[in-house]
């Protein structure tokens, strides 16, 4: 292996080693999209703790989960699910929408 390549692999291995343990002991919440609506409409979460947000899209068409408050955006293809990591939140209300169906797909996360 050439020197730069060896260096690069080392960076990747170190990165992975630091990165993997951050999963596992995580809190996890689930949102479902059906008929372009979120269920539940409101999620209560503890403030100051990072958690995993699983967004399940039961509709046949794609939806874009988007929240400027949470600084997250992710396309969830039809009949599939996407995982998002929500970083520790200050107490407050964080709104999110399904960008492709904003009229109906609205919800919020309340951090306490």
């Amino acid at each position: 292996m050439s020197k730069p390549l060896r260096g690069l692999s080392l960076v990747w291995i170190l990165g992975l080693a630091l990165w993997i343990p951050s999963y596992g002991q995580e809190l996890s919440y689930e949102l479902t999209i059906k008929d372009h609506r979120f269920e539940p409409l409101e999620l209560q979460v503890p403030a100051g703790k990072r958690f995993k947000l699983v967004v399940k899209n039961l509709d046949p068409t794609a939806e874009e989960f988007e929240s400027h408050d949470l600084k997250l955006e992710k396309v969830i293809p039809g009949r599939s699910e996407g995982n998002l990591t929500v970083r520790p939140l200050k107490p407050g209300i964080y709104e999110f929408v399904g960008e492709f169906h904003q009229k109906t797909a609205k919800g919020r996360i309340v951090a306490k």
């Binding site: 794609a62 400027h68 997250l72 396309v75 293809p77 599939s80 009229k103």
Partner: protein
């Protein structure tokens, strides 16, 4: 209908502005129309492919495929924009001189056009794939809504193109003497903004640290999802609530491209002398 129009406008705007800036930056270059058209066609085909394989992309890299893909597309565009600016410092002066004297096309070779063609491809690809998924959803929603939503689509597209055309002709009013400097700065800011956005995707994927959750919050004055917010986002990289690392990427991109430009300028002067 209006809601659809606004979504379409937001998705189209970035790509349309990028194309108009690229068109101004390549003014007077032979074959630019063809290169930019290749970029748009390749981007559109790519967007269709990305939409078709959205499942596979999302599932890749333990569910982080989408973030990594978006960041990669952005960083490729940043590299190409930077390369273009560096290249222009070598050749811009002679081009400007030619434009001023005769106003005719100058043949300068096709090196920078490869780069800008790729920039156009990346811009159309990223925003286009979301648009394709959105429209596919509309089309399969049933015939009842199709006409109204189709009108919304046409309206949003027209508004996006009009803004881009307006920007193009606005920029063309800049005198040839200053045009290269102006487009150079536009491309520089475009690159820095894209780098900052790429960083945000990597923070979302938990690959990069945030280095400060919210450096400032101007979402009440100029929200990200407003049309002006999106416009500023494309042109100068505006974000209502940036992470610290986004500012870092912004600053580093500006510095690196400017430094490379200065170094190139120095060496090309020495060659000329």
């Amino acid at each position: 209908m209006l809601a659809t129009a606004v979504i379409v406008l937001r998705e189209v705007l970035e790509a349309a502005l990028v194309v108009s800036i690229v068109l101004v930056a390549t003014r007077g270059v032979v074959g630019r129309g063809a290169w930019i058209s290749y970029g748009i066609v390749a981007g559109t085909l790519g967007a269709l492919a990305v939409a078709a394989f959205a499942d596979a992309i999302s599932a890749a890299a333990s569910g982080l495929g989408q973030e990594i893909f978006n960041a990669t597309v952005l960083f490729i565009a940043v590299a190409m924009l930077g390369w273009h600016n560096v290249w222009m410092t070598r050749h811009g002066r002679e081009m400007a001189a030619n434009l001023k004297s005769v106003g005719t096309a100058v043949r300068v070779g096709d090196k920078p056009l490869y780069a800008l063609s790729i920039v156009v491809t990346m811009a159309v690809l990223r925003e286009g794939s979301e648009l394709v998924l959105f429209l596919y959803g509309i089309a399969s929603a049933g015939p009842g809504q199709t006409t109204e939503l189709g009108l919304g689509f046409a309206l949003g597209l027209a508004a996006g193109l009009m803004l881009a055309v307006g920007m193009y002709f606005g920029l063309l009013r800049v005198s040839a003497k200053h045009l290269f400097a102006v487009t150079g700065w536009l491309i520089l800011l475009l690159a820095a903004g894209m780098a900052a956005q790429g960083a945000a995707y990597l923070v979302q994927a938990d690959i990069l640290p945030a280095l400060g959750e919210t450096i400032w919050d101007t979402s009440y004055v100029l929200p990200d999802d407003s049309v002006i917010g999106k416009l500023m986002h494309t042109l100068v990289g505006y974000t209502a609530r940036p992470y610290g690392i986004q500012l870092g990427f912004y600053a580093v991109t500006l510095t690196v491209i400017l430094a490379l430009t200065k170094i190139t300028q120095g060496s090309s002067r020495r060659i000329a002398a």
